[in-house]
Symmetry: C3
Subunit: 394 residues, 3 copies
């Protein structure tokens, strides 16, 4: 009776759960004299890459909500602002629209983006992501999954908004329409997805609120110099993004790739088209498999077969569990040279080792070697990045 | 026994609960050429109006605490600061003082202010509120309720403090003494308050820390131009606020009104007196009634008779619950012209529709038509505001 | 079975607990004409000294984590930044290293620093603390306790990092190695530590990332003028800190002292050596004893024998519990004059009264009388500080 009363009382309010995540990073750069001349002397950095706290819950049968803020965000002038991450209301089980989300959340676009930074294979997403992929904006979206969970479809309308004040405040547009469909031609039900083939396609139309657009990216690291940079592209009216995805998992082995093309329309001057792509492979030495969320059409949390520990037992022996170990390689490529825009091109090789202590903690080690043809046809140059991360989420 | 032990252990520490709220707003302005000339071209805005997380709890029989911060606050230069909301310690059951609060919380003044923004009828409070009503400050206050819960009385001493650094730091005063009494001549006990008549009176004496005071308000919207503005009023020593309140609830219908007068004292120059007032009416199409908190003498959470849902059932039908629907109108008026101060006057008509999905979520739609006689006898002008909000609290 | 299933499920994720603390301070200065001429007119202040929210938890047998941010921090220009406090991952039961922490936390140095600000006897730590003691930095540390819990030993490597962006980003070092050992020659097991003698020794080697170092401290208050100030000391390469500690508890009485010496090495110019010390005594009028954490080698939470309450009972009487009352005195001294550096010296007398309402709430009253020989041999001067705090943690 007591439990029933509590349940009834609970049904009368939203549930509240607290979650969060912390990534502590150490970054070191390796540069030759030419690299220093081109990109400046990149400084070693120790920093909080991410430090989030949030709350989420559900109630009244069909509703849920989430609010999550990041205390480690900083703007281009290194001034800190507490920035908004997922902040939304959701309504389930609607006819036609199924699940609808209102608020600030990720637009349905790109397998790499929609896989949480907690679960991605490398410390940073590829160059095409920071160049073009829309992350979180304010809008409304509708989400669908087929009955056999082999297909997902999502679409939404968004207003581009900054994560920190003054957000968006103008009459010039900044609207976007984004959609994504995914399909699993093969999914090994017997092993709950230790084998699968994922295909996906994303599309976004993006009206800009500022006709002056600039695209510049770092060599797959959160700090330091931007190695390619279009400078200001004037008179931009809008642009289209198209992003086919493919991923294949076969036991401990996986391969994943995306190709992204961006068509820019300008009210005056030639219309540039930019491209990017990445291919990444990973292998779990300890036998795990990348797990996949069929409702989201994206990768999910890695769960070690045996968690890490190493303790001295009562009789003086040392017992050990090794956690999960993963080796990974990614090749990514981005071309910002077109139609008179001389942004440069970069090809990055990233080698990664991930040590999963348990499902909620991991250490990551990345080495990035970026081969850059910089903006304005400056001489080719290289930059090396050594990165390390301690990660926890809860 | 286990439960008893847990209870005993719990008695040995403060309880901790997490709460929060998020309001996502879209604002659009309608202006003629004259309005644009007078007030500038007000820009459409999408923003987080409020995004709070906090913790509260109680323990040791007579104590409670609360800490709540707002991540969406921004200062006059649009720079974001995490600002403090309710941050206090409370002690119950004291003789003479009854319940005492120490910390940062709302001064006991104004029915509209003391009704949480989660429960107010319109998206923004009236112009008299932003012009004069003290909200949260640091101080100590004592709260009383009569045994029959028909009367409340509260008083407190406060130091005016900004919600963000540098808070208050000077030797020039900035102290306030504030009190409020409320009385329910009629309260329909049988229906738990579906019928009531509320009377209230608030008074505040406010010594200023800065002799240069400025009063300026927006047309009941959180962004955009301030339409009336006194400019700097020099030599201000202190001022008095007087605020009679009345509210009447009769089933789904309610009417509420406040009149506020502010008497300014200056060490040199004439002493201006400013006035403001509002009258608001609302009606629940779905039969709910505005609920009232007799301990606080303020309005409380609206609970829909039937929550919103609209789901496709197994046999293909669509079942629906409509939530609660409320129509509302407010007339507000503010006069900042007196004794040589030419701040202007504004009369605002606001029309509102509220859709309560459940007790913790609602959508709000407001249309404001402000008729302004601007500062310095500039020609009369109008401004229209269309506002929309998605709100959740937990 | 339900409970067992829940326990099993819980074992599969990290636990989450929320904690926090709030200190609301009022500060007033007493200055003569000479003091105003030397230090300026220090302004009265009301402020949040500390306002933290955080989450912590544990899971998978050997892991724990913590994340805690402070919303009340402000930088030297009074701009607010949300700053990081304890943000770390811990691993228990490792061979040789025992308990290891990775992240942002207090370096193992100084009894006064390692005693949480929730438990320290005075509102602010002594002048030697703000002058030299490293607080939280990013690093890795290992913690050990002897089997009889009479000895602790901790050591770690750290990178000096600011609590707010841009944190640390340079190639010039800023590394530190820190260690601390404590020993309890006497600990009264029968009374769980109502009598004890604590000895400790801390050492830190600190390579600086900026050759320009400046040391300046306030008179044991969080706002207002810095009364001693070395100005910029150029060409600093590194420095060593040595810090012997002693503390003695005998029932309600305690005495505690530290002496700190800092040896600076400069690449050019003379090498200055600075000193500081404090001795503090406290006495509980209500019979409590300062409690001690044997795993940390630091003082712990004070628990009143009887919590505070004062309520009118049904028959009209007033029942009272008085909480705990503590009287305290501290003498501290800091000398920043050496080898051509004329930073000045200060000797502070602090008198304190603490009223503990319950283990989680207290009111503090401090009076500081600072006798200063200011920088550059300016004439001696005094400054008086009256401080008051309402404190809660949960």
């Amino acid at each position: 009776a007591k439990e029933a009363a509590a349940a009834k009382k609970n049904a009368g309010k939203m549930s509240v759960n607290v979650d969060g995540r912390v990534y502590v990073d150490a970054v070191s750069f390796g540069q030759g004299a030419g690299s220093m001349a081109t990109f400046g002397d990149a400084q070693d950095t120790v920093q909080f890459r991410t430090a989030r706290l949030g709350a989420f819950g559900e109630g009244f049968d069909v509703f849920n909500y989430k609010i999550e803020v990041d205390f480690a965000a900083r703007d281009s002038t290194d001034d800190q602002h507490t920035s908004f991450k997922d902040v939304y209301i959701g309504v389930k089980d609607l006819p036609w629209l199924n699940y609808v989300q209102i608020g600030h959340f990720k637009e349905p676009f790109s397998l790499e983006e929609l896989t949480s930074s907690r679960y991605i294979t490398f410390m940073e997403r590829s160059t095409l992501n920071s160049a073009f992929v829309p992350a979180r904006n304010v809008g409304v979206a509708s989400y669908h999954v087929s009955e056999n969970e082999r297909m997902t479809f999502a679409f939404g309308g968004f207003r581009s908004i900054k994560d920190t004040p003054p957000y968006a405040a103008n009459d010039n547009g900044g609207y976007a329409f984004t959609m994504r469909a995914t399909y699993l031609p093969w999914y090994d039900e017997a092993t709950s997805g230790r084998g699968l083939l994922h295909l996906g396609l994303g599309y976004s139309y993006r009206d800009v609120d500022d006709p002056n657009q600039r695209i510049r990216v770092r060599p797959e690291v959160a700090v330091g110099p931007r190695v390619v940079d279009t400078g200001i592209i004037t008179n931009v009216e809008d642009y289209h993004l198209l992003d086919p995805e493919i991923a294949f998992v076969y036991g401990p082995f996986s391969i994943q790739s995306e190709y992204l093309v961006a068509f820019y329309n300008r009210s005056a001057g030639a219309d540039p088209t930019f491209h990017g792509a990445y291919v990444q492979m990973s292998y779990f030495l300890t036998g795990e498999s990348r797990s996949y969320n069929r409702e989201k059409g994206a990768f999910d949390r890695v769960k070690p077969i045996e968690n890490f520990f190493r303790v001295r037992t009562c009789d003086g022996d040392v017992e050990t569990g090794w956690g999960a170990w993963e080796l990974a390689y990614r090749y990514s490529w981005l071309d910002l040279d077109d139609a008179g825009v001389l942004g440069g091109t970069t090809a990055d090789h990233t080698f990664g080792i991930n040590w999963y202590w348990n499902p909620y903690m991991r250490l990551m080690f990345n080495y990035v070697h970026a081969q850059v043809s910089p903006a304005n046809n400056a001489p080719n140059s290289d930059i090396n990045v050594f990165e390390m991360r301690a990660q926890v989420d809860f």
